[in-house]
Assembly symmetry: C2
Amino acid sequence: MAKAKKRLSIADLAQELGVSVSTISRALNNAPDVSETTKAQVWELARRLDFQTNTLAAALRSGRSNMLGVVVPHINGAFFPEVVHGIEDLASEAGFNVMICQSNEEVTREEKQIDALLKAQVDGVLVSISATTHTFGHFEKVRQQGVPLVFFDRMPDIPQVCGVVLDDYRGAYQVMEHLLAQGCRRIAHLAGPPLLNTTFQRHRAYREALLAHGLPYEPHLVVQLTESDMAAGAAAMEQLLQLPELPDAVFAAYDFPAGGVLQVLEAHQIRVPEDMAVAGFSNEPFTTMVKPQLTSVDQQARHMGETAVKLFLQMLKRTDNYVGQRIVLKPKVLVRDSSQYGRVAHQALRLTR
Amino acid sequence: MAKAKKRLSIADLAQELGVSVSTISRALNNAPDVSETTKAQVWELARRLDFQTNTLAAALRSGRSNMLGVVVPHINGAFFPEVVHGIEDLASEAGFNVMICQSNEEVTREEKQIDALLKAQVDGVLVSISATTHTFGHFEKVRQQGVPLVFFDRMPDIPQVCGVVLDDYRGAYQVMEHLLAQGCRRIAHLAGPPLLNTTFQRHRAYREALLAHGLPYEPHLVVQLTESDMAAGAAAMEQLLQLPELPDAVFAAYDFPAGGVLQVLEAHQIRVPEDMAVAGFSNEPFTTMVKPQLTSVDQQARHMGETAVKLFLQMLKRTDNYVGQRIVLKPKVLVRDSSQYGRVAHQALRLTR
DNA sequence: ATGAAAGCGCTAACAG
DNA sequence: CTGTTAGCGCTTTCAT
């Protein structure tokens, strides 16, 4: 195996072509003030020698790295991967390389990741905060360094943030209206982290929809999930089954717990949706694979990712202290058999909230 | 909003403390030859001023970036995210930052990602190749630059590669033995990309298990999947249903297609496993949420990720032309209701192949 | 249209 | 134990 050869630098190309390094640099960057002939020569030589410009050096000198940092809480399930897809598509189109980091739902890790990104001199940071993020100093730091900061889906509750979110309230409210329209009157809720905007809104919609329909908000019908996986949903359902009076519907803040609910109900031979309707949130692919298929809410993942990048590009163009906008995407409720009596073909809910 | 202040450099710290930059550098890097007192002073000052060492400059100068590049075909499903978790855990423990890239199952993208990683001067590259990777020049380039290269799960068929894979053959063979033991005699196979080592081995095991049991290998019972999602599995099953004589079992190379199979069978009111047994591969979480629960094979995702990092660390320590080893992990067959008549509590298969 | 030269912020000899 | 110094490879004025 060949010993690590010294990589060539633009100086090598310069020497080879008998021009200066600056000419090489300009040619490689397609600067407007280089003659077409030299430019062609340089590119040809670079191609022939398989020259790779050292991005580190370029970034160090220019202050721009052409890298976009992305911090997500995790990449389980379909949502975040799909968002990341959207991000990558648009970002690479715009000439940026994307660096993905997982915070693992831990603030400390999130802080470290942000630090690492900043140190790597990324040109922008896109973040969906962790469930344990209740301090925001690390985000301030990003802004102080003049690095565009865009949030997506999960957004901190601080002023002047730029980002794109789903209208979680609306999505959840529509689910509730649907359940209520189906005749459910004792609806339980499996709630996500109360400090996340997303699950907070879903919970709020749950509550307000009940009240708007003259039903009481009963705290013992609300179970706080500690995880967002199947097991957590199953545990929550077991807990609900201890109640003297059972709910007639369960609305979970995430799909996986809703899946756990279905399992427990089946084990207890409780029919869905006849005895109990079930709905989740996220439109995970598995929701159409379970029986009955799970009612859920589409979160526009891909669109969200693309929008985040667009916001970033906007910030990049504007002045230093431009504070971007906040975009809200419309959710799409997908009514399926787990909540639908009689399996009537059902149009998307038309809501007049 | 504050205007992007100039970030401080070690020169600033040096001036502040009245020492030289090299002392600062050494202190910050915990070099052994710095007095504890100065070291403490430096760290204290750095902390107080919230100094961030510029990794770009450090990497440019030292040639080491403390970054590990990871290229995966995608991050859908649970497998690759889990592997990535394993990688991140061990890598961050060893002081490396992980940069995740998706090839999207496209060689061209894979090549670009590798180039980008190389340009960013990563200290190592961990790759699971795309389904369309049939040329390997980009991997050669990695080696030529002396950058440790480790494959995981999907590995190119070239000599002297270092990596960690699952014993896909064994896993698939065990599934087949299980199906045969259950009395299945006309087993269909939904095959993955024939040029990927993983799915190639699963297919080979399918074939050889049949032959070993005196059964014919019938090409029309093998459907080549074009995607690895539910829809592809559903389409494949519809195709199998056209056969004059139906199979009595379906072994899919991936879980999601197997899920699609279940759906189609249910739509056609074909009972599982009584009329047709079904098995997948990957042990996706949803496999325990469908009804009947899906027999599958655990791929040791986390362990695989950790092993890949260990291999990388080994290569880092060795000489330039050390070619790492190839590690094979044992799969674990998980027999569930989709293939198990009579729902007998079943131990993990004990195999004497 | 091209070249010369000054760094970006840091590390690593080498010298004390 | 600490300081001096020469770059890492590139971009970017400022000249020409």
